[in-house]
Every structure is written in structure tokens, then in C-alpha cells.
């Protein structure tokens, strides 16, 4: 099959469930803890014992307001908790308390980076070195709800015929964030998720750790011929738990849908699962068999009212957002929009840059090192910056050594991987490995004399007025010094000795 991008367009909307960073649960005072033994972090409310009642966690409300303000949305003065009724063993009450018709947050947006090869109309305007542009993605709503417990289907459980139910996660506060169907490629979908996660972390709304299940994604996917305005029939892929899976699953599902259409069949509305090992989506449940959730306002709770003063006090306490930081990086450190954008994709990366820039006194060098060298390593090894041994102080001292002429760029590049892998003091590493730049005139003269003696014809050419081969001689001197000769001194010595 030819690349679907040629003829078809994808329409993607994402639903993100993110755990709010609270100490206790949404409607119960049980502690929020990960990794406990089964039912070691529960309260009678989480077990849905007869007679228990929910009381809303104030912090969860505040965190939802924060997110709402950060995505330029309306924080609704009145929102309503409703019961979503269905039976499942990890849903102790037989209903989930969620928000249905009246969510706490509605109508917002965020901006994502989009690769330019899918936005060719703006490519001409792009500056050199910049391969992305910005696109605004609508956010329909964000609402508060409680998480369910876990069903453990381990074969060790009672010989494999039973499942074990652990309610430690039951009642953990979730914010469900629903995007408009504004995303058009799997890459945009993952860019949206990364941007959203960066905002959630910057605001300390959520740790959004995908491995801990704190940040989960469902993707609504449909396809249509380019130029169509009506939406195709969509499917919903459930429980995607890494950025790579989101991209893969959307791609795979889009191809499946396009193949159906090309074969003259039609897409059936359904809930899908994704199997990352086989890179396949499969139907879990058809829409026509969907449960009837019988939503109605929870009579154990009254409507949630948020007065404007509360919203303003949350606004006043908002930390700097990725977009604001990006703008500040451009102005404060004279970075290009491209550089500032890359450095603010995550809060930890932006913090790392800023600490390095300040400690080294050289923001441009800090930006270059991070974008050129560090991000490549992180991408290759699928790491976050905090998972490496490199600290801002180490990188700053490396930069200072280069700026002081004590370390050549080539030698610095040799030390860098060690710092990432094991850490250490760059100056000590430089000394241990004998990489300190050679700049004393005696040593330099010796290398220069050797090279001049070895290339009399080139020297003659330069003396006749052609400067071009000078760089060749520079290279020969650097080579002879094993990269340690300080380039400025070498150039000066060469010029002096050839021209006299």
C-alpha cells in the first residue's frame, strides 16, 4: 500500500486521564500511594461499604482550576458530579463518580510543535535550522473523576481461574482532558501529549508518569479523503500507555480503516485495544453493545461552586508555563524560537538549561550542547534528562573550560559521553586523559615547524599569495597535536612562520 498520507487525512481526538497530585483520594481521606500490597491504602469509602459517603478533595479542585487556566479555558462557576453506572469488579460502588453534562473546565486550547514536512505552506518562511512550526489544538473539556481499582489476572492468583481485586487505586483523583478532533497525524498526537504533559508537570498538577499509570490516553481515530469536510466513522483505541504506542496505534488503526474503505467495506464504530507486540489493533466492543451508563447527578454531593475570587487566587499562584518560559528564553538568553521551543518541551529540561546557562555564563553554548549533544543521547536511549548522570554544574564547567581555551571542542566532545554515563568533574577528566589544550608557544612551535617542514609545496603556495591551503595546514597541526593544540595560537604561529 502506498503512503496513506497522499490521499487520506486522519482525524484524531485524544482523551487523557491524568492522576492529580494530591495526598489523599478524590472523595475519601485514604492516602494516595503506589506499590502498596493489595488494599493497604484504602478507607471504608473506597470499599463502598454500606453507609459511606463522598466528600470532595479541595486540592483536586484547585489543580483542575490550574490546568483550566493554563489551557486558556473557562473554569465553570458551577459544575456537577454525576454517577456513571456500570458493573465491574474494580468499581466498588457499581458506579463511578464523574462529571458529565457540567464539567469543571471547558473550551480551552494549547499550542503544539508540528513538523514542517506536513505543513509545507509555512516551510518557506522557516528560518534555517528550524523544522517545526506551531499549531493550536482545541480542548473541549476537562473534568474530575475517580479512578477504579485494579484487577490482577496473574496466573498465580488461585491457580489462574480467579482474578484478585486491589482497591488501592480506587478513588485516586483523575482529570480527564478531552481534545477537539484537531489532530491530523500520529506525530501531532504525540506532540500534543508531550506538550500537555509538560504543562501538567510545570503546574505540578500531575506527575504524569506513564509507567505508573498516572497518564493514560485513549485515541479517537477516523479517516477521510483529503478535501472532505465530514468526519468518517471513528473508533476509540483504549489505554495507550506510552508515546510510542500512541503513535504506532494511531498509524496502525488508520491503515486498517483505510484498507477497509479501499476494499469497499466500512468502518464500524467500536472500542479497540492495541497490542504493541503484534502492532495490531483489535475490536474490544462494538458501539451497539455499549453499556447504558444511566448518568444522573450524584445525590450524595451537591453542585460544585467556584467563586471568581478563588479562580483569581489560583491564577495569581500559577507557576511559569512552558509557553511563557519559551518566550522568556528567547528574550533573556537570545535564543531562536526553535531553540527555546526545544528547551521547554519539559520542565526538567528547561530547568537544566537554565541552570547550565547561569552557571556557565554562556547561554548560547549551553543551548548548543543540550540541543546538539544531550537531546540526541536522550532520544537514542529513551531517557529523561534527570535519568542521566550529567548535572548542569558539570556541563557548565565543561563549557567554561572550552571558553577559557583549556579544552578544545574536540576534546570536550570526548569527555561529554562519560559525563552523561557516569558523571564526574570535567577538569579532572581532562587532566586524567591528558586532554588539556596545548597553548604554550614552545609546544605549538614544535608542531608547526614539523608540519611546515613536511609540506614545503603547500607553504610555497601560501607564500605566493593563495591562503586557501592554510586550513589544510591547520588541520595537520591539530592532527599532530591529537586535537589538543589551541586553534587560535596555532593559526597565529602558522601565519607568523610562513609569512615571516
Amino acid at each position: 500500500m502506498t503512503d496513506w498520507r497522499d490521499r487520506y487525512e486522519l482525524v484524531i481526538g485524544l482523551e487523557v486521564h491524568t492522576h492529580l497530585k494530591t495526598a489523599s483520594k478524590l472523595f475519601s481521606p485514604a492516602p494516595v500511594r503506589y506499590g502498596d500490597a493489595p488494599n493497604h491504602a484504602v478507607h471504608p469509602i473506597d470499599l463502598a461499604l454500606p453507609g459511606v459517603l463522598p466528600v470532595l478533595n479541595e486540592r483536586a479542585v484547585e489543580l483542575a482550576i490550574r490546568l483550566g487556566l493554563a489551557i486558556h479555558a473557562t473554569v465553570n462557576p458551577v459544575s456537577v458530579f454525576a454517577r456513571k453506572n456500570y458493573f465491574y469488579p474494580d468499581l466498588p460502588k457499581g458506579y463511578q463518580i464523574s462529571q458529565y453534562e457540567d464539567p469543571i473546565v471547558s473550551g480551552g486550547w494549547l499550542e503544539i510543535d508540528v513538523a514542517l514536512d506536513v505543513a509545507p505552506n509555512v516551510a518557506l518562511n522557516a528560518k534555517r535550522g528550524e523544522t517545526t512550526t506551531r499549531r493550536r489544538i482545541g480542548i473541549t473539556r476537562a473534568h474530575l473523576e475517580e479512578d477504579a481499582g485494579k484487577s490482577i489476572h496473574d496466573d498465580a492468583v488461585a491457580g489462574g481461574s480467579d482474578s484478585a481485586i486491589d482497591l488501592n487505586r480506587a478513588g485516586v483523583p483523575l482529570l480527564e482532558i478531552v481534545s477537539e478532533p484537531d489532530l491530523r497525524t500520529p506525530e501531532e498526537a504525540s506532540s500534543y501529549l508531550r506538550t500537555l504533559r509538560a504543562i501538567l508537570r510545570a503546574l505540578e498538577v500531575s506527575d504524569a508518569d506513564m509507567e505508573k499509570g498516572q497518564f493514560r490516553c485513549d485515541a479517537n481515530v477516523s479517516v477521510r479523503l483529503k478535501g472532505e469536510t465530514a468526519f468518517g466513522t471513528r473508533t476509540e483505541i483504549k489505554n495507550l500507555n506510552s508515546f510510542a504506542h500512541v503513535e504506532d496505534a494511531i498509524e496502525v488503526e488508520a491503515v486498517r480503516q483505510i484498507e477497509l474503505i479501499e476494499d469497499g467495506k466500512s468502518v464500524v464504530q467500536a472500542t479497540m485495544g492495541y497490542d504493541p507486540d503484534r502492532r495490531r489493533t483489535h475490536v474490544q466492543r462494538l458501539k451497539e453493545n455499549a453499556d447504558d451508563y444511566r448518568y444522573f447527578p450524584d445525590p450524595d454531593l451537591i453542585e460544585l461552586r467556584i467563586d471568581p475570587a478563588r479562580i483569581e487566587s489560583v491564577r495569581a499562584s500559577l507557576p511559569e508555563l512552558p509557553d511563557q518560559r519559551r518566550a522568556r528564553f528567547e528574550s533573556e538568553y537570545a535564543l531562536s524560537p526553535y531553540e527555546a521551543g526545544l528547551l521547554t518541551t519539559s520542565r526538567t529540561l528547561a530547568d537544566f538549561f537554565e541552570a547550565t546557562a547561569r552557571a556557565s555564563g554562556s547561554p548560547k553554548a549551553a543551548s548548543n550542547w543540550i540541543i546538539r549533544d544531550l537531546l540526541r543521547v536522550l532520544k537514542e536511549r529513551d531517557l529523561e534528562v534527570e535519568q542521566t548522570a550529567l548535572s548542569p554544574d558539570m556541563l557548565a564547567s565543561l563549557i567554561r573550560l572550552v571558553d577559557a581555551g583549556r579544552l578544545t571542542a574536540r576534546s570536550a566532545a570526548e569527555i561529554f559521553p562519560t559525563l552523561v554515563a557516569e558523571g564526574g568533574d570535567p577538569e579532572r577528566l581532562m587532566v586524567e586523559r591528558g586532554l588539556e589544550a596545548v597553548s604554550d608557544s614552545g609546544s605549538i612551535d614544535r608542531f608547526v615547524d614539523q608540519v611546515i617542514a613536511a609540506h614545503p609545496d603547500v607553504v610555497a603556495q601560501i607564500r605566493s599569495g593563495d591562503d586557501k591551503p592554510l586550513n589544510f595546514l591547520m588541520g595537520q597541526v591539530m592532527k599532530a597535536s591529537q586535537g589538543k593544540a589551541e586553534p587560535g595560537s596555532v593559526r597565529k604561529a602558522l601565519a607568523q612562520k610562513i609569512r615571516g
Binding site: L53, P89, I165, R294
Partner: protein, 491 residues
Amino acid sequence: MSQAETILSGSLQHQREALDRSEITASDLVQASLARMDRHAHLTAVVTRQDEAALRDAEAASRRIAAGAARSLLDGIPVVLKHNIVQQGQLATCAARILENFVSPYDATVVERLRAAGAVVVGRANMDEFAMGSSTESSIYGPCRNPWDPARSCGGSSGGSAAAVAAGIAPLALGSDTGGSIRQPASFCGVVGFKPSYGRVSRWGLVAFASSLDQIGPFARRVSDCAVLFEQIAGHDERDSTSLPQPAPKLRERLDGDVAGMTIGLPKEYLVEQGVDPGVLARVREAIAVLEGAGAKFVEVSLPHTAHTIATYYLIATAEASSNLARFDGIRYGRRAKDAVDLEDLYRRSRSEGFGAEVKRRILLGTYVLSAGYYDAYYGKAQRVRTLIRRDFELAFASCDVILTPTAPETAFRLGEKSGDPLAMYLSDVYTVSANLAGLPALSLPCGLSNGLPVGLQLLGKPMDELSILRVGDAFERLTPHHRLTPPEVA
């Protein structure tokens, strides 16, 4: 009758004086209560005994009282709890098969407050399964019998609590009222039953039937005793989001017997000959005359949506119940069907075997009225009519302080008489459900007998105004001998 039993049959004030003057001890009183349980076991009023805990608590109360350190007016006083109010370490079955062995690991707020007051819980009262009924017949313990005539119903759903107080097993009991479940049995058994304003008493630890209607309230043989128990259990509770922020009001000391100048409304839609037992109507008219003689002014008021209250009530109550009862799935607690082949089978069989017919009927109705395509026509509609009913009362209370009605259109019916006709059973709640829909405080108190059976007088108050109805009720008690009538077999 022993001295302790005589005192047990008296008012709370008599019991308090006897205890404080060391005429008897709390242990004597509790033992007398347990002896009465034995004697009236055939009533099936108290169905779970807590003798050991009760005697231990009574011992402690006796020591406190002897040391002059009584905790409250209730210290050492026996109290019976409805089986849907949880107490740590004790059964709370809701008279349901599905909860027949459920032992609560935590206390209801009202239980904590009773303990803080020193009251002694002596046992658990029979009830309609999950409080769904008006006769206390749908119970795994069998029907509760009326002390006035054991062939008759004690009303429901808090029938066991009412019968226990009427039979003198305890001077006080707690019940719950969702559509009349305290007042109607109080009326049938000739005792005082009081449903506070919605939100006055914490629902934490009350097994939910219909969350927006349920309210815990007291039974007693005197209005003033109801006031004492109410003061003890009422007031804000941070564990219940629907709990009103105010502390418990002081009421008992303000019951002065004076109704002169009070205006009492008579809803023209309620006091009609049609559908009301003539004996009931006669007693209510006599009560009106008594209060008029004491200086109360009577005005006619109108509650135009009265004809729609039962429909509204059953739509809302069953919708909420269908969701509230979803947690009974045989997984974390409660009865689980044996040999289920898979999870779905486990759900269906545990619930089908664990719930009785009336509970199933209401779950089915509630599920239906919330289901896709029917919500607006049924549940949504009922919530809007509920607003109209509330407005009726707002308007009526603009011209009166208290509204007076019969509690029920009849006296205690025979056991089995209505169990085959659910709609007829529902319709007999006509006078009581509107107080729940509008969140009003409501009191039922004895106003005489009809054919040898007690008749109940109902007083409805403005939201939060418990005082007015208790004052009128207390004044009526002072003017009449009805509260001293006791069932033949008890006397």
C-alpha cells in the same frame, strides 16, 4: 412489673431522675429492656440482640452516674437502632439476605454521638428490606407485629423501631425516613416519630436507600424525649456532604406548651373524606379542636401538586436506589452465590438470590427510569415536579407556621393485606412523602384510637424549623391523654 420495668415504661425525665437519684442503675434499666425483649420476642421487633455489649456499656454508665459524671441526659438509657445504621463490630443487615452476615468495620455518626452521650444500644430493630416498604413484612426475620394487635402490621419501614418503643422494650429508638418510614409506623404503633429537616442528621453510616430523601430520626413516647435524642444526634458532620452547616439546635428547653398565636395550615387536598378512614379523620378533627381551644389559629392552605407526589417520589427514590444498591455484588462483602460459572453469573445470581421481590421491583423501576431514552420523561420530569412540590410548600408556609395532616390515611392494616399490591402500598404514603421531597421536618404523634388502633397526627414545618412542630406537638401532648395509651398486652 419490677421497679426498673416501671421506670423503663415512663418518660425519659423519670428515667433520668431515677438514675441520678440512684433509685436504679443503668444496668437495671438495660436488664429490664432485655427482659422485655424476651417477653415480646413474638413481635419480631428487635431481631438482633447485643446483650453482651449492652450490659458492658450499662456497667460503665452505672459507674459514671454513681460518680456524678453522667455524660448527658441519655447516659445509661437503652436505645434500639434500626438495622440499616452501622455500628462497628455489630451486624447491620438491613433485614436483607445479601447482608445477612455483614459486620460493620466502622460506626455511623449517630452511633458515635449516642456513645458520646452514654446511651446504650440494646439491639437492632426489624425493618423492611433495605427500608423499602410500609409494613415491615419484607424482612429476612419475618414480619414485625404490631403490639396493639399482633395480627396487624406495625407499619414500615422502621416498624421494628416503632414497635420496640410501643412495647416498652426501650424508651428511645432510631429509624430512618425516606418517604414516611418513621412517621407511618409511629402512627400505627401509637408512639412519637420525628423526621428532621433533610441535612440535619448525618447520613454517614446509614445504608442508603434514596440519598436525597433519607434522613435518620428518633422514636419516643414523648415529644420532648424525641427532642432530647434529636439534639444529641443532629448537627453538622464533615463526612456527609449533604449535612447542614449549623450545629444542633437546642429545642427541649424551648418546649413551653404555648401555641397561642401560632398559625396552623390545613391543606385542603389532604383533609378530604375520600380515601381516608373516617375514624382517622374524626381523631384529626378532634385534635384541631383541641389546638384551636388552646389559642392556635387555623387557616386553609393549598398544596396543588399533592396528586403528583407519589409518582414523583417513586421515580426519584427508585432511581437513586437502583444506583445505591449496585454495590451489593457479592465481591467485597455480603452474600455471594455459590458455584457461579463466571463473573457475570456471580453478579446475577448473588443479586437475584440476595434481594427480595420488593427490592428487585424497585431496582428494576429505577434502572428503567434512568435508562437511555427515558431519563428526561421520568427522572428528569420528576426532579422538575419536585421543584413544583417544594414551591407549593413555600407558598403555603407564607401564611402559616405549621401544617397539620393525618400521618396515614388509615390505621394499622392486617399483615399480608397489601403485600400483593405494590401500587396500593405506595399510595398509602400519600401524606408522608412530600416532606421528604421538600426536605421538611415532620412529626407524627398519637391523637387517639380508632377501633382500638392508634391514629397518628402529622405536623410539617418549614425547612430547619423543627422547633415549631415540636412545640405544637408538645403542647398537644400536654392537653391530651393519648400519649399515655399503651397497647393492651403491654399494659
